[in-house]
């Protein structure tokens, strides 16, 4: 099956001379959820804006559903819904009219049932007759999402949808995302909440300085780069790691009350068994053991750091 979104050697240089994208190539499969991670100014928003038609590409080709976004823009844009990063809504109009307006822009016939379901899903139904300016920030963000879904897009772009929103909205949003996934809608999101990308995305792309650093299946990425930490709480603090225990990856906490062992989950030998045996030999009493996986955040910070060095 051809990719629903295909980006080839996309470059974008703004009039001021700033190059936001320098050769991005990315294929997005229909029905997948892909998360784009990257520091501020990496080019995430420019990439989304260029696919959606808000900015014009300087070079390269972008196709959505097989339609070139520059030459066949009408058909390409027809498939897309966009939730922008910044809240931008007509303040004097009601929630209902705001959402209906967007549906109209996409030349869809009036469908009150669809809009009602959308507003109910996003807990906006009670507020349908309220003016947008009377809503809280979180509610406005819900309206943005409702607008983006008003015409039933096949591809949904969420540009940092959870930046500064409360837990409840995030839960509602992911519920909507889950339903859209069942309907086969492709979702592209950018986020700073890396756990979130880890939790909901099928694939993760990392962007830095206008380049895609990597795109990989979330599980593969976690596995490939995933490291775990074993934390060993001691009954008696130690002043330093005993001679016979010292090895790579083992460190003492500042207060000496615990030892932290970092290991690779995919190495042929993790070294845990040996460590535990040596602990016993050294005569240390264990109070507790816990393990934690290093988050995508660590991976991401590592990648971007390597790039900047």
């Amino acid at each position: 099956m051809p990719p629903i979104v295909s980006v080839r050697d996309l470059t974008k240089t703004y009039k001021g001379g700033f190059t936001a994208l320098s050769g991005v190539t990315l294929d997005i499969e229909e029905g997948e959820i892909i998360a784009l991670l990257g520091p501020n100014g990496a080019g995430k928003t420019t990439l989304i804006s260029t696919i959606c038609g808000i900015t014009m590409p300087s070079g390269g080709v972008v196709e959505v559903g097989g339609h070139d976004v520059v030459r066949d823009w009408r058909r390409a844009r027809d498939l897309i819904g966009l939730v922008p990063q910044e809240i931008a809504l007509e303040p004097f109009s009601t929630v209902w009219n705001n959402v209906r307006f967007t549906r109209g822009l996409y030349d869809r016939p009036r469908d009150d049932a669809h809009l009602e379901r959308l507003l109910r899903d996003l807990s906006l139904w009670e507020k349908r007759d309220a003016k947008v300016m009377e809503l809280s920030g979180g509610m406005k963000r819900r309206v943005l999402i409702a607008k983006a879904l008003s015409h039933g897009p096949r591809v949904l772009f969420l540009d940092e949808p959870t930046a500064g929103v409360d837990v409840e909205l995030r839960r509602d949003m992911w519920r909507v995302v889950a339903r859209l996934r069942e309907e086969g809608v492709t979702i592209i999101l950018t986020t700073h909440y890396i756990e979130e990308a880890e939790a909901i995305a099928d694939r993760i792309g990392v962007i830095s300085k206008g380049r895609i650093m990597l795109v990989e299946r979330t599980a593969d990425l976690m596995a490939r780069l995933g490291r775990k930490e074993l934390r060993i709480e001691l009954t008696e603090p130690v002043a330093e790691i005993p001679e016979g225990l010292r090895r790579e990856g083992l460190a003492r906490t500042d207060d000496g009350g615990a030892l932290v062992y970092t290991y690779d989950t995919h190495a042929s030998r993790t070294g845990i068994t040996a460590l535990l045996a040596d602990l016993q030999a050294a005569g240390l009493q264990l109070a507790d053991l816990s393990t934690s996986a290093s988050s995508l955040e660590d991976i991401f910070v590592g990648l971007v750091k390597e790039d900047t060095v």
């Binding site: 703004y14 009039k15 959606c52 038609g53 808000i54 900015t55 014009m56 823009w73 009408r74 058909r75 844009r77 027809d78 897309i80 966009l82 922008p84 910044e86 809240i87 931008a88 809504l89 007509e90 303040p91 004097f92 109009s93 009219n97 209906r100 307006f101 967007t102 549906r103 109209g104 822009l105 996409y106 030349d107 869809r108 016939p109 607008k147």
Partner: protein
């Protein structure tokens, strides 16, 4: 052609108009009434007829034009500037709509509002002055063309403007003086000969003259010239808009 989008934009703009009905209708009516009181009753009573028409009646076409031109311009410029200002412009850029469709929606709505206001002022005039319109169809056609062409001009200003000051600049600095100097309240023939020549370069003269002809059957310039002038003005505005859309100037980076 995405007619759904044109109609959505048009209806949203008209909804804004009716939300602010008081400002939209009442203020032009009040200011026109003031003009009638000051120019018509106070000054007009001390004046003879102008070219065979009572002065109070003579100023009606100019008064309507004054309001219609400023309203069409400011409505259209604000309508397209506002989405740029609050950021909702992203919707117009990412939706499957062409610039032509965006223009039709916004300019159509701004022209409709101006037309409404023009007709309301005309109705108000009947309360103050007794007069008949010689060529009602021509009058409507002139009114209609003026609404459209000045809404186009306003649309260009709205795209060009980077802040609210610039948005006010052209209407305040250019349109109002041109209208006042364009024979709204006097006949061009009343001016000294040198100024009559200067006035020929004011495009508004042709509009008001043609419009006045449709009321009273007499004009400062031939009616054909008036029509040609308004057609030229509309064509220039359309050309500029076409250029803006080709290049995405101040809209799409």
């Amino acid at each position: 052609m995405n007619f759904g989008a044109i109609s959505a934009i048009y209806r949203a703009e008209m909804a804004r108009f009716f939300r602010t009905l008081l400002q939209s209708f009442v203020s032009p009516v009040i200011s026109t009434s003031l003009y009638f009181v000051v120019f018509g009753a106070a000054i007009g009573s001390r004046m003879d007829q102008v070219e065979g028409v009572d002065y109070a009646a003579f100023i009606i076409p100019g008064l309507i034009m004054l309001s219609v031109m400023t309203q069409a311009t400011s409505n259209a410029s604000f309508a397209i500037y506002f989405p740029k200002f609050i950021g909702t412009i992203y919707e117009y850029l990412s939706a499957p709509i062409s610039f032509l469709e965006v223009t039709l929606g916004f300019v159509g709505a701004a022209a409709t509002k101006a037309l409404f206001i023009g007709l309301v002022i005309l109705a108000t005039s009947f309360l103050f002055v007794d007069f008949t319109i010689l060529h009602p169809l021509a009058m409507l056609a002139f009114l209609f063309l003026t609404c459209i062409s000045f809404a186009l001009l306003g649309f260009i200003i709205g795209i060009w403007a980077k802040n609210f000051e610039q948005l006010q600049l052209i209407p305040l600095l250019v349109i109002t003086p041109l209208v006042f100097l364009g024979g709204s309240f006097y006949s061009i023939s009343m001016l000294p000969p040198a100024w009559q020549v200067v006035t020929r370069f004011n495009p508004v003269v042709y509009l008001i003259s043609g419009f006045r002809w449709s009321f009273f059957g007499q004009a400062d310039v031939p009616i054909g010239v008036s029509l040609a002038a308004i057609a030229l003005f509309t064509a220039i505005c359309l050309g500029i808009i076409w250029l803006i859309f080709r290049t995405g100037w101040r809209i799409r980076q």
